[in-house]
């Protein structure tokens, strides 16, 4: 405090002090990515709660069907492949973005969206199939926990797809301006994060469910 008044007393020193503060950005270099990362981490806690719920209730079948009766691992393998492929194609979109290639970025984003859509369609087919068999979320605690966990992940993918389409329109209209690059970085983090959650889902729900 006394330091500041001292500087204000001497006009020349105050001027250089002001210039110093203007030249150096007071914000952290990369605030958006840290903020978005913190959002992802809090999202992680939601999934942790759902995984814990599934861990507790995953064997409470209420004399109904178990995971081994219901899960079709081939379907899950195809679904996992879709999500993995969409991750790498998003990576390609980011690489095109680095080259300032608008068309290439849009093309790879569209491919990513298609894979995401395939993933979602297959998951909805699986849900529909289960409910038709009478294995809906109201059948047992196991199925309630299963539908909540996998459904929450699917909902995230849905919103990711909506975001993807909106961002593609924005890039189409404005090109790869600074703001769109920032949005693209956030969406890529979101998309890869969903892939990480899916690793947990297919390992702990599907693979361990049929053991």
């Amino acid at each position: 405090m006394s330091d500041l008044t001292l500087h204000a007393g001497a006009p020349g020193a105050a001027l250089t002090a002001r210039e110093y503060h203007l030249a150096h950005d007071p914000h952290p270099e990369n605030g958006t990515s840290l903020g978005f990362w913190l959002y992802l981490m809090s999202d992680c806690l939601i999934f942790a709660a759902l995984f814990a719920t599934y861990g507790v209730l995953g064997r409470s079948y209420a004399a109904g069907p178990s995971g081994a009766d219901l899960f079709d691992l081939k379907l899950v393998a195809i679904n996992t492949a879709f999500l993995l492929l969409s991750s790498i194609t998003f990576g390609f979109a980011m690489l095109r973005k680095q080259l300032n290639d608008v068309k290439g970025t849009l093309l790879w984003l569209a491919v990513t969206g298609l894979f995401g859509l395939c993933f979602l369609a297959l998951e909805l087919y699986e849900f529909h199939h289960l409910i038709e068999q009478g294995a809906g979320p109201q059948r047992s605690a196991f199925l309630s926990a299963f539908f909540t966990l996998v459904g929450t992940h699917g909902l995230h993918v849905t919103f990711g797809l909506v975001w993807l389409v909106v961002l593609m329109i924005q890039i189409g209209q404005r090109g790869l301006i600074h703001e769109n690059q920032r949005r693209l970085m956030c969406l890529s983090m979101f998309w890869h994060f969903l892939d990480v959650v899916w690793i947990g889902v297919f390992t702990f729900v599907y693979l361990m469910g049929v053991l």
């Binding site: 992680c44 806690l45 942790a48 814990a52 993995l84 991750s87 600074h178 970085m185 990480v196 361990m208």
Partner: protein, 134 residues
Amino acid sequence: MAPHDMTHDPHHDGHHGDTGPHSSFSGYMTGFVLSIVLTAIPFWLVMAKVITERNTAVLVLGAFAVVQILVHMVCFLHMNGKVEGGWTLLSTIFTVVFVAIAIAGTLWVMYQMNAHMMPEHPRQPAAAVSGMGS
């Protein structure tokens, strides 16, 4: 990679850092190939019924999942100790610890609660019921 410099357009107010870290084709491909291998092996282990003992299978599958999550973190999410001056890594470590405590604690407590519950069937012989408590 000369065109890359165009993204660092000087007329933007010096915030060029928040468009994300520089990523490379080889980094993505390494992650992709590794994640395919780390996905295929667990699926094969389960679908071909290679490991019959459940506990072993759970441990092996869990290990594969952890390794694959690390691969995704490094190759796709570009995680390292330097991004954001280490704050990204620090918040991740905090989350991992929190998640581990929450999940392990939940499973432990709920398992113990189930184990100490009164038996559901009143027709069980009294000896068996008293044996539960010991």
